[in-house]
C-alpha cells in the first residue's frame, strides 16, 4: 500500500493525518537538541551513573521467557559473581572501564604506581600532539585528583571498603565523573591520531582518523566501538575482556580481549549498545 493510500485509510477511519510542515524559519537543530535533552533527562533521573554491585544472578530476571539469553546468562554465571550497571548515556564504556580499573588499583599498589606515572605524563603527550594545553589541563587536573584519591588509601592501615565508597561517590558526582570520561576520550583520540596509519583501516568510509576523532571520540555521549577500546587499552597498557552477549546462536558468550593477547584486568559485559562491569569469581 502506498503512503497516499495509507493516509486515505486513516482519514476514513476518522484519524487526523498529522500535518507537520517544514518551517524554514524554525531552527530545526535547536528543536532536535531540545527533544534529545528531554530523553536524556529521563534516563538521568532513573539510573545512577554507576550502580551498586549486584549478584550476577540478578540478570536472569531480565530475561524471563527468553531462552537464548537465559542460557547465556547461566553460562556466564560460571565465570562471574557480580555485575555493576552503568547509566546508558553513550559514555558507558569509558565510565565502566575507568571505574572497574581504579577499583582494582585500590588493592594493587604496584600497578597503581605504574599507572599514576603514565597518567601524569599523558598531558604533555596530548599537548605535543596539538591538543589545546589550556583546556586539556583542566581535565587532566581532575583526572589526577581522582587517581590520587585512590592512592591515598594505600598509605592508611585499613584499605578496601572505605576507598571503594569514596570511588563510588566520585563516580556518581556528575562533574568529576564526566571529567574522567572526557579525559579518557582525549587519551583515546590521542592514541588514534598518534598511530593513525594503523587505525585508518578500522574506519569505514572516507573519513580521516582526525575527522573520526572529532565526530566519534572526543564529543561526550558518543558510543564506543572496538576501535575506541583497542586504542584506550593500548594507550594505558590495561587489558580489557569484553563479553559479548547478543542474540547469536551459540550458548557461550564470546570473549574478546583488548589489546589482543593481553591479560585482562577489567571485565565488561556488552549487550547491544551498552557496557556494564563484571566481577569474576
Amino acid at each position: 500500500m502506498s503512503k497516499k493510500q495509507l493516509s486515505a485509510v486513516f482519514v476514513k477511519m476518522g484519524d487526523k493525518v498529522p500535518t507537520t510542515k517544514y518551517d524554514p524559519n524554525v531552527n530545526q537543530d535547536e528543536l532536535i537538541m531540545k527533544q534529545q535533552r528531554l530523553i536524556e533527562k529521563e534516563i538521568m533521573d532513573s539510573i545512577p551513573l554507576v550502580g551498586d554491585k549486584e549478584d550476577f544472578s540478578s540478570l536472569e530476571g531480565e530475561y524471563d521467557g527468553d531462552d537464548i539469553y537465559k542460557q547465556k546468562v547461566k553460562n556466564l554465571a560460571k565465570n562471574y559473581k557480580y555485575i555493576r550497571r552503568t547509566r546508558p548515556d553513550g559514555n558507558c564504556f569509558f565510565r565502566a572501564f575507568s571505574y572497574a580499573y581504579l577499583e582494582k588499583l585500590i588493592d594493587d599498589r604496584e600497578e597503581f604506581n605504574r599507572f599514576r606515572e603514565l597518567a601524569a605524563k599523558s598531558k604533555e603527550n596530548l599537548v605535543a600532539l596539538g591538543f589545546p594545553q589550556f583546556t586539556v589541563e583542566d581535565f587532566h587536573d581532575t583526572f589526577m585528583e581522582v587517581i590520587d584519591q585512590v592512592g591515598k588509601h594505600h598509605s592508611v592501615l585499613s584499605p578496601g571498603a572505605p576507598a571503594g565508597e569514596d570511588l563510588h561517590k566520585v563516580f556518581n558526582d556528575q562533574g568529576n565523573s564526566d571529567y574522567v570520561v572526557v579525559y579518557l576520550r582525549l587519551i583515546t583520540s590521542g592514541q588514534l591520531q598518534r598511530d593513525s596509519s594503523f587505525y585508518q583501516h578500522f574506519i569505514e568510509g572516507a573519513r580521516s582518523v582526525e575527522d573520526f576523532c572529532h565526530q566519534e571520540v572526543e564529543p561526550m555521549y558518543k558510543e564506543s566501538d572496538h576501535i575506541h577500546i583497542i586504542a584506550l587499552s593500548t594507550a594505558l597498557g590495561v587489558g580489557v575482556r569484553v563479553r559479548y552477549m547478543d542474540r547469536g546462536d551459540s550458548a557461550e558468550v564470546i570473549a574478546h580481549d583488548f589489546p589482543e593477547g593481553s591479560l585482562p584486568q577489567v571485565h565488561l559485559l556488552y549487550r547491544p549498545g551498552h557496557y556494564d562491569i563484571l566481577y569474576p569469581h
Partner: protein, 151 residues
Amino acid sequence: MSTPARRRLMRDFKRLQEDPPTGVSGAPTDNNIMIWNAVIFGPHDTPFEDGTFKLTIEFTEEYPNKPPTVRFVSKMFHPNVYADGGICLDILQNRWSPTYDVSAILTSIQSLLSDPNPNSPANSMAAQLYKENRREYEKRVKACVEQSFVD
C-alpha cells in the same frame, strides 16, 4: 556555589582577558556567569569588514561537556545564521569537543563569517545569493554592517 561548569567559565574568562584573540571579545554578564555577551568584529577583506556584531552565549551546568547556545543579537545576513540569530555550525552541534573554550568558539564563528557553508543553509536566501549573485549578497551584508553601528 562552585560547580565544574562555573569553575571552567572563570578559567575561560581569565584566558580571554590574558590572551585575547584578535577581533573577538566576550565577558560574563554582571550577575550571571552562565550568560555571556560577546562581540565579533567583521573580518578584514570580507563584506562583514568594520561590522561589530553582538552575540549572547548561554551555558548550562553541563558545559564544557555540552556546547553552549550561541546567538547573534545583531541582525545578520549569512547563509548559516537563522532568522532568530541562531547559528548552524558543526562545532556547536555534533562536532563539539569539551576541549573548546569560549575563545575557540568565538574565533570559529568569526571564520564562519569569512567562509560560509552554503550547502547547509540556515538562511536559504543568503545561501542562494552567496552562490549565484555575490554582488547582491554583499550588498545585503553591508546593510547589516551599517545596522550594527546603530544597535
